[in-house]
Amino acid sequence: MNNPDIKPGSFSSSIAILAVAVAYAALAKASFLLTIPPGNITPIFPAAGLALAAVVILGPKALMGVWIGSFLANTLFFLDGSTSPAQSGPINVLIGALIGVGAALGAAAGAFFIRRFCKDEHPLQSGKNVLLLIVVGAFGCGMISPTFGVLSLIWGGILPWERFGYSWVTWWVGDAVGTLVVAPLVLAWQHRHAFRTHLWSRAEAVVLGSTTLLACFFIFFRNIPYGYGLLPLILWAAFRFGMCGASTIGAIIALLATIGASRGSSPFVGTTTNESLLFLNSFLGVTITSALFMAGMMEERKQAAERMFKLNRSLRAISECNQALIHASDEMALLNRICRLVTDIGGYRLAWVGFAEHDEHKSVKPVAQAGFEDGCLEALQTTWADTGRGQGPIGATIRTGQPRVVHDISANPDGAPGSAEAFKRGAVSSLVLPLKTAGRVLGVLNIYSEKSDDFDPEETNLLIALADDLTYGIVALRTRAQQGQAETALRESEERLRLLGDNLPDSYVYQCTEEANGTSRFICLSAGVEKLHGLKVDDVLRDATLLRSQIAPDLLPALQAAEATSLSNLTDLTMELRMQSADGQWRWIQVCSRPRHSSAGQVVWDGVATDITARKQADEARQAMEQRLAESEREYRELVMLANSIILRWAPDGRITFLNEFGQRFFGYTAEEICGRHIIGSLVPENETDGRDLRSLIQKISDDPQKFERNINENMRRTGERVWIDWTNKVVADAEGQIKEILSIGSDITERKQAEEQVHRLNEDLRRHAETLEQRVAERTSELAAINDEQRAIFESAGTGIVLLRNRVIVRSNRKLEEIAGYDPGELAGKSTRIWYPDEASFQAGREMVYARLATGETLRREQQMARKDGSLYWVRLSLRAFDPNDPLKGAVGIVEDITDEREAAENLRQALEAAQAADRIKSAFLATMSHELRTPLNSIIGFTGILIQGLAGPLNPEQHKQMSMVQKSSRHLLALINDVLDISKIEAGQLNLARAPFELTPSIEKMVKLITPLAEQKGIGVEMDIAPEVGAIVSDQRRLEQVIMNLLGNAIKFTEKGRVRVACRLENDHYLLSFADTGIGMKPEEIPGLFQPFHQIDSGLTRKHEGTGLGLSICKKIIDLMGGSIDVASQWGQGSVFTVRLPRQPGETV
């Protein structure tokens, strides 16, 4: 069976099996419900028909579904149901399974035979196939299932042997009739063509259906005994609606008949069960069999008729198309006609032709159509590009050249845009044919049918032939059209050329060739030949020598040579020829021609001849004139340029018009730069160096040049250099006597002028110098004297010694130095520097070092010991610098300070420091020892007192206990005092080193509060804590901070008699604020300032009441200070105090 609608792989096999099983079980259940009286026997078993149809359609895999369905139906509905004897258990399951095997085998056998004998045809396609289905499928193979089933029931003990025959027959008949009803129904609807129902046809179906229902109602439910009256109705269905109609009406009748029978109201209910069965099943069997057979025959005939009709219409269409092809003259009309013929005569739904365009999108351009509205095909933008949109049948056909058939557009209506449009217009299948010529696909012919699967191979071949004929027609029409166009174009081109040639002014065009005998012959000539030569065109064409004889004889040899060259080299020939025309007039004719080989193998010249007489004459006249002018110009230029003077021409308005070469060189301009500029500002400055106004001079010269025939004035070069020039001016006047320009000729007299000035200036200078010199000498002398006095005063009164050395000898020294060294005034001068050194060795060493240093050019600075006149030693700081580092011996100046006192003071200081440090070390050691030594006895005192009070050494009487408690209290106080004194000492000695490690602040506070709480409770005071949630880690010294917290808490409790103590902590910027507030006695304002001083006692009376060392707050403050924080107090007498500690979260670098 070759049905494209059946695609076993299109849905999952397991789902198919499940569907079959469920449907089978459902049908079985339904049939178990519809039993007929009096024996309550199931008359028909439609599940058997479903099983057969399912296996035919889906193949062997449906068998599993059948088996499962049967098994379920039997085990769930039948074997455990009320109809069976009270028996259950695993044997029923086995029986159910065996019955299922029987059902599956029956369906398998039926399907095998149907497939075997129907081959590729549908099982309902012909009368023969229908018969096969009825005889073999329903009745023949229907025996397998009852055989298995009944035997299984007997084996299982549910049925006695005696009932075998009866049970088998009822089972078999039920299965056979069920198969007759259901199998054709499923197969027919499943195979249904995609068809469009007409309104009329639908109405008819409604009439048929309702008539059938009405008839059934009366017959089966009102018990009117005309059962066979239904036969015409089912035959009507078979004739008019084919297999679908027949099987559907059959199924309705079977269902209603069975329901009717089961209600006992049907004419088929007999007196015995057998009778009822016989009545019902024979009625259904006969009715449905005949209807199916009839429908099968109808189907067969209908198909044959259809095939004939289709072939016929294709042939007619082709015949008409060929007629159209023969008579066609216009391509578009032809294509449109073909499309119309395909639809009108061929009976197809739609047709259109598209050409494959070779543009950017590879579009398919619709050119003709039938059945579509205008523009709808263009809107599709069909393409044949090998892309997503071009994958449809049209694109594929254009690319491959092979026709494509789409059997059923409705299966995939969105597959291609063209198909979707066609589907909207009623098409169901399509054929795309290539229009192919010489291996190239011009386009496609698309034909659409309103039936699915409408293009069988035979018809397709006919239509391919049609497409080929159409292609031939298109090509033939195009060839014809191209030929016509070419001829017209040629004619028009010739006409244009002729007009062009004839209308050339003063020219004509020609074509000429050389004959075998060497003479020339014109092939064609334009009309101008008559105007230029006075010869008729036809005459010249006949006899070329007419033209040649007009050429001036002296030019003929040159012409012949040029012609020979052009002929042999195929180069252009251009000549100007003097020719005498027929009217006797001489003209210059220019001939230009280009040789080429004609198709006949001759050389042909295409040329143009032009009358150039007028141009020739003008050229000659111009040449003569130019020659004369050039000579005149040359003479003048030589004169001017060669002159050794400046020659300048300028207009009366001051513009320079000319400067000769000498002048250009002299002033430093080129002719282009200077011509056109005003004379003032270029060659003549506005003012002379000594002030004469040249602007007005130039104005005067131009106003009246005669008066200034000669003038000497300052001029300027391009570089700005001033030069003196002696000018001679001459006026050039025009015809009316107006001044046209001024000619000035000048010579350079600068050197002469400068020499004169130089002499004058020198005389003047000499005189002035002589006057001032004497005065200056006097002034300078007095200045020097004053400076000398000042310097001497400074030198002598300086607080440090100053000395001038030369060659290691003291040249001069001031009074201070003499005093330092213990000499009398003037005694040092002339002495060697040896006198400063205590001995020869130190002198040598010092000298070497000093002069090596001076040679570097730096100032020597050193402290050294020197000897006085009396031999005693003293310390000096010496600064020494050479005048000339290259030769330090030549001279050096030194400053000498006596630093003996200074050195002594420094030495004393150092000793004092050492002593202090030693004292400090001793103090530290003392403190450590003190601490240790005091603790050792205290250990015994506190320890044993504790033992005694605890009663560890035996009971104490109350008096003893009281006294021992006093000892304990005193000793603890003493210990606290020692600890505090040590802390203070350590802090003041700078020995308290703080650790720096991160820790959580909140637990520390909590720990201290917990420790102090017993003490507070003892006094009946509450301790509150208020720590903000953001309080976290701090980097500090945990032990010391806890000591501070403890101390402040202790103080607060100590000074509070009632009320509460409150500890709060919060974060403010980078600092934690810890506050300790109490409701104690508080302080008076004057008590607060000294609060943090060591050994501060607020009040002697209080000290007695509140024991303490008086050091706690002082220690707290010092620790907090060391941590980089601060501590403050706010208090009111009688109200309480608040101590606030401010601590950085991270200690700064300076802490």
Binding site: N939, G943, I947
Partner: protein, 130 residues
């Protein structure tokens, strides 16, 4: 069951005080008046813990602690320094020398035993606390 504690202490009163308190609490106390003797007794008796004074004649507490640390079979016995050295850095120096605990003199007779038990290895500590 081992409940021996070794006290290395040169001061007679202090030795007596500690011995008194610890024996009252059920410990067996052995005493050594100098470091050398203390080390000998420690190796011999394998005490539960060693209470060590720092200022000792001949060999000071730091040296004793360092020497004790060399013996692996004493690893379990904590060395608890009981000392009057309460200056800056003393505590750190003593712990660095190998002591496990540090108790400052003067001791508090009410809490001293509890402090010692706190330093003992937990098993035995629990027994005595009960």
């Amino acid at each position: 069951m081992n409940n021996r504690l070794l006290i290395i202490e040169d001061n007679e009163q202090n030795m007596y005080l500690m011995r008194f308190l610890l024996e009252k609490s059920g410990f067996a106390v052995i005493g050594a008046e100098n470091g050398r003797k203390g080390i000998e007794m420690a190796l011999q008796c394998k005490p539960l813990a060693i209470l060590l004074d720092i200022q000792l004649p001949e060999m000071n507490g730091y040296e004793v602690a360092a020497e004790l640390k060399k013996h692996r079979d004493l690893d379990e016995a904590p060395i608890i320094a009981v000392t009057s050295y309460a200056m800056v850095g003393d505590r750190e120096q003593i712990l660095a020398a190998g002591a496990t605990g540090y108790i400052e003199k003067p001791i508090n007779p009410e809490t001293f035993v509890a402090e010692i038990i706190e330093y003992l290895p937990k098993k035995q500590g629990a027994d005595h606390a009960a």
